[in-house]
């Protein structure tokens, strides 16, 4: 390839103060096979058009802020190499299933509400007294939830999930996987609190195991698996209430 090779990036543009409808804007970007899509967007912002708005931080697949649709596929743009698309143009959209705030930036409000709803932290009946030492856990106990704790909240799974797009009540893959992650944590005592939220109408049962959340997850969390496991827990709880009508829930 020539020294001056370029690649075309088509960016979704939407500025609420001036645009009533979004549009696509094309940019010619120097092609470098070591570059990722995020490098190209940063180059555009630095050298061509400072009004392009996007989120990013770590550039190494840890922070989870640079998720966008790359040619229709939810991707961390820091991990999507230009060489996998060259010489064809690359179209970048903000993550689908989210409202667009500006250009490539989506609103995370709904996602944060759903995340908060599953109480993704350790809940204890006793008050943690550090003088008695930490809550201990065996490697086997850790293995039960470790995979689900790798989530970086990049929201790619929400963009890949058709149910998220159609059902407001659905908590979505990441939040449900995280809820399940704490339910599976041997140090946690908050399962009944979380299940109250997770088991209500379509919050979890809306999932039809399409499974694409797991396919797009950059951290191999397998939210689809977590949700099916959580459904089994939910079904057990349902039948337990027939056997023990009072239940143990707080």
């Amino acid at each position: 390839m020539s020294e001056n090779a370029t690649i075309t990036l088509e960016l979704f543009r939407y500025h609420p103060e001036t645009d009533s409808e979004p549009r696509y804007q094309s940019y010619e970007v120097p092609y470098d096979e070591d570059w990722v899509v995020l490098d190209a967007i940063n180059w555009i912002k630095d050298h061509v058009d400072g009004t392009v708005t996007h989120r990013w931080s770590c550039r190494m697949g840890v922070c989870g802020s640079c998720g966008m649709m790359v040619n229709g596929e939810p991707k961390l743009t820091c991990a999507a190499f230009l060489k996998d698309y060259y010489p064809r143009p690359v179209r970048v959209d903000p993550l689908v299933n989210f409202p667009v705030e500006r250009d490539l930036v989506v609103s995370m409000d709904g996602f944060m509400d759903k995340l908060e709803a599953v109480k993704p932290y350790i809940i204890r009946d006793d008050v943690n007294d550090t003088s008695q030492g930490e809550y201990r856990q065996t490697p086997a106990e850790l293995a039960r939830y470790k995979q689900f704790s790798m989530c970086i909240n990049c929201m790619l799974c929400y963009a890949a999930c058709p149910v998220v797009g159609h059902e407001e009540e659905f908590l979505g893959p990441a939040a449900l996987a995280l809820g399940h992650r704490y339910n599976k944590d041997s140090r946690d005592q908050g399962q009944s609190e979380r299940l109250e939220v997770m088991l209500s109408s379509e919050a979890m049962w809306g999932c039809t195991f399409v499974g694409e959340c797991t396919v797009v997850c950059p951290k191999h969390v397998d939210p689809a698996g977590a949700i099916q496991q959580a459904k089994a827990v939910g079904a057990q709880e349902f039948f337990k209430r027939f056997v023990m009508p009072k239940g143990a829930g707080s």
């Binding site: 609420p16 645009d19 229709g72 058709p162 399409v210 689809a224 089994a232």
Partner: protein, 128 residues
């Protein structure tokens, strides 16, 4: 809140990704299986109606149309089983201490193995 852009609903979402199409095919197996189950109960009903009625019904099942329908039903039922047992490692992880039972092993032990055994016994019973 003002000025956020909401992209239009994608009603044809299931055409957008190969994974969505595979999902649709998996879910549609249930339509053909439900149809077959009705035919299966009809078969049992003919059996209850006596030897002659049952014989007539079975003979009718040999027609090309019914054969084709059963080919579709078999494909649907087999695909249901393959995808259902294929999901066993995701939906029912088995831990041996820290180690998680590998995907193929749990699929065979808790899925494909029992499936083939049950199928073989049923087929053997009729063929024996």
């Amino acid at each position: 809140m003002s000025g956020q852009y909401h992209r239009p609903h994608r009603w044809a979402w299931w055409t957008e990704r190969p994974g969505y199409m595979r999902f649709m095919i998996r879910e549609l197996t249930s339509v053909f299986m439900a149809g077959y189950l009705v035919v299966f109960v009809m078969t049992l009903a003919r059996l209850g109606a006596g030897e002659a009625a049952f014989g007539e019904w079975i003979a009718a099942m040999g027609s090309p149309g019914w054969m084709a329908a059963h080919v579709v039903a078999l494909a649907a039922a087999v695909w249901h089983a393959v995808t259902f047992f294929g999901a066993v490692p995701q939906a029912m992880p088995v831990f041996l201490g820290e180690k998680r039972l590998s995907g193929p092993v749990s699929q065979i032990v808790m899925g494909y193995g029992p499936w083939l055994t049950v199928s073989a016994v049923i087929v053997w019973w009729v063929l024996r």
